[in-house]
């Protein structure tokens, strides 16, 4: 089960939000089957061109785009909040056809990006 951890910044200003690495770790903690998610992420990355291959920062930014979570203030959001926001975004991905095909699977762009982020984080 997801541990709901509300992290509250202490004395942090907007300019001192969580690092990209911390955000990536938090986001990918939502994936309870990390080994399989890494496989999907790796397959997704392999089908991107060299120029379009994203890094951690870009993936975090794209994953959180369109959600209610500001990367600079992400420490004020719990994991449950993050999960809720991403669930809604994934559903919207399918509504708006923001999808990718990964090895025959029809996936939401957001979930493919999340898996890709895990694959990158695991290599770091």
């Amino acid at each position: 089960m997801v541990m709901a951890t509300a992290l509250v910044g202490t004395g942090c200003s907007l300019n001192f939000g969580p690092s990209i690495e911390e955000l990536a770790k938090k986001a990918t903690a939502l994936l309870r089957h990390p080994e399989l998610a890494k496989q999907i992420g790796q397959q997704y990355l392999e089908q991107l061109t060299v120029l379009s291959k994203p890094n951690q920062e870009r993936l975090v930014s794209e994953i959180l785009a369109g959600t209610g979570i500001d990367p600079n203030n992400a420490s004020y959001f719990s994991l449950l909040d993050l999960e809720d926001e991403l669930t809604a975004k994934v559903r919207m991905d399918f509504t708006l056809e923001r999808i990718v095909k990964v090895n025959g699977w029809v996936l939401s762009a957001t979930e493919a990006q999340l898996c890709a982020l895990l694959a990158i984080v695991a290599k770091v």
């Binding site: 939502l30 309870r32 089957h33 996936l107 957001t110 898996c115």
Partner: protein, 498 residues
């Protein structure tokens, strides 16, 4: 009454008002409509009451296009025809299926769905079905207490199908035909040729024969060819004394536009995100409205008009696919599926989406006479079933929409071979065994073989019954439409003959 044509004297002449060639769904339906009318009807059936190898061999031919089932496997050549092994799935064609659509070349029936509605209703009990309630989904959800998927009406809908027992016409209607005073049903009677006057504007008779038996003839005022989607075309092509191209084939259209439903089974496998997803209305049959029913996913009219694709349906089939739950569970995590280790086995965690797609009418998909000969030394057929890039694109999009809807609803994720390479048909491409289009119904002999009454253009007393007249085929199985058209044609001919 039934007569074995083998007992006829050689060169015997049979005279009647109406001669129906073929005792399948169309032929038997028409014969029944004339019972007690005083119109003398002859019904000619190639086989007997059971399948026999020699008669069945008359159906042999070659698939020279896309590989498909052997021609003598799909079709049955004995009393009752292919209803002797049909699956019983029934749904009328949709209104849009009859329209001329700008994005579908060669589309458009010369009649509308409304023209056929009274006959669809009449066809229900003939096929052993319940009340005519195809568009009343609420009725069935109330009756069964089962939920439907909350689909986006701009994409897909839940469509009702009726399930026939299935009615084996040869068994169910045999006694009725036997008792009918004005019907003579000849068994083992193979029609070899339709004879005409010099300019083929009139059928003057037909030649028939038994295997190792007598030859005989029939003279009627009106003739109906009801031998099936392939054989109707074959007999016209073989009847070529007046016109070497074949009867009704001045414009080289007989045999062209051969269509069959495109099947991908499965086209998609969906790994569940949630346990306890109730899809019983879709993957089981239920008693309701005096019959049995089930539902499928189908394209909405909005979708077809917006995206300009062809019609399709998708059956949801409980799957034994070994989708590893954790893989599907990767996405279920995001869908909010709470239990990481559900107590069900992997085989219950996926569902197969079987796609049935309407093909685009294609003049190069066709039936022609081959140089191989049958027992009567008549030319067999080559079936060159062809599909186009548009068909592949339509299949891709249909399955993509299904995957999108399940993703949108948070129900699961779809996997399909077709998504690995959109330029190639998946290896499990199949034909639906619904042979249609080879003597298509249109409003002009420049584009078709029969008119809106199913009469051969330019020949006054020959009509065609069955799926060979369909100019497009929608996604629905053809049998109920075959029966509806047969009922309509019967009404027309009663007017002519009485």
């Amino acid at each position: 009454m039934f007569i074995d044509a083998k007992d006829l004297p050689s060169e015997h002449l049979i005279e009647c008002d109406l001669c129906i060639i073929g005792a399948g769904a169309a032929g038997i339906t028409m014969a029944r409509e004339f019972i007690g009318t005083g119109i003398r009807v002859v019904l000619l059936e190639s086989g007997g009451f059971r399948m026999d190898e020699k008669t069945q061999s008359l159906y042999r031919g070659k698939n020279v296009g896309i590989p498909s089932f052997n021609l003598d496997v799909n079709r049955l050549r004995y009393f009752g025809g292919t209803t002797n092994h049909w699956a019983g799935h029934c749904r009328p064609l949709a209104p849009i299926d009859f329209e001329k659509k700008a994005w579908v070349p060669h589309s458009g029936w010369p009649i509308t769905r409304k023209d056929l509605d009274p006959y669809y209703i009449k066809a229900q009990p003939i096929l052993g079905l319940g009340e005519y309630k195809y568009e009343d989904l609420d009725y069935f959800t109330t009756q069964t207490g089962l939920p439907t998927l909350q689909l986006d009406e701009n994409r897909l809908k839940t469509a009702v199908y009726n399930q026939s027992p299935p009615t084996r016409f040869g068994k169910v209607y045999r006694k009725e035909i036997k008792r009918a005073q004005n019907i003579e049903a000849y068994l083992n009677a193979n029609v070899l040729e339709l004879e005409t006057n010099g300019n083929a504007t009139e059928i003057t008779g037909l030649k028939a024969a038994c295997i190792n038996g007598p030859e005989f003839s029939v003279k009627a005022k009106q003739y109906v060819l009801a031998t099936g989607g392939m054989e109707n075309a074959r007999l016209l092509l073989l009847s070529n004394r007046a016109n070497p191209k074949g009867l009704g084939n001045d414009k080289d259209l007989v045999g062209r536009f051969f269509m069959d439903h495109v099947l991908l089974r499965p086209g998609l496998d969906v790994s569940y995100s949630q346990l306890g997803l109730n899809l019983e209305l879709y993957n089981r049959k239920h008693r309701a409205a005096g019959g049995r029913m089930f539902t499928v996913l189908a394209a909405t009219e909005k979708l077809l008009r917006r995206e300009k694709i062809n019609n399709f349906r998708i059956h949801l089939v409980a799957s034994g696919a070994m989708y590893k739950l954790p893989f599907g569970g990767v996405f279920s995590d995001i869908d909010g599926f709470q239990d990481a280790n559900p107590p069900v086995k992997a085989r219950n965690n996926s569902i197969a989406f079987h796609l049935v797609l309407e093909p685009v009418p294609n003049p190069d998909s066709r039936i022609t006479l081959s140089n191989d000969r049958d027992l009567f030394k008549q030319r067999k057929i080559d079936v060159n079933w062809q599909l186009s890039d548009a068909d592949l694109n339509n299949a891709y999009r249909a399955l993509e929409l299904a995957a999108l809807e399940f993703g949108r609803l948070g129900l699961g994720r779809g996997y399909g071979e077709i998504f690995k390479n959109k330029k190639v048909w998946p290896g499990n491409l199949e034909a639906g065994r619904h042979h249609c289009g080879t003597t298509r119904m249109t409003d002009s002999d420049n584009s078709g073989v029969v008119d809106k009454q199913c009469k051969l253009f330019n020949t006054e007393n020959l009509y065609i019954a069955g799926s060979s007249v369909f100019p497009t085929i929608g996604y629905a199985n053809p049998t109920i439409t075959i029966v509806a058209l047969a009922l309509r044609l019967s009404e027309h001919l009663k007017g002519k003959l009485s």
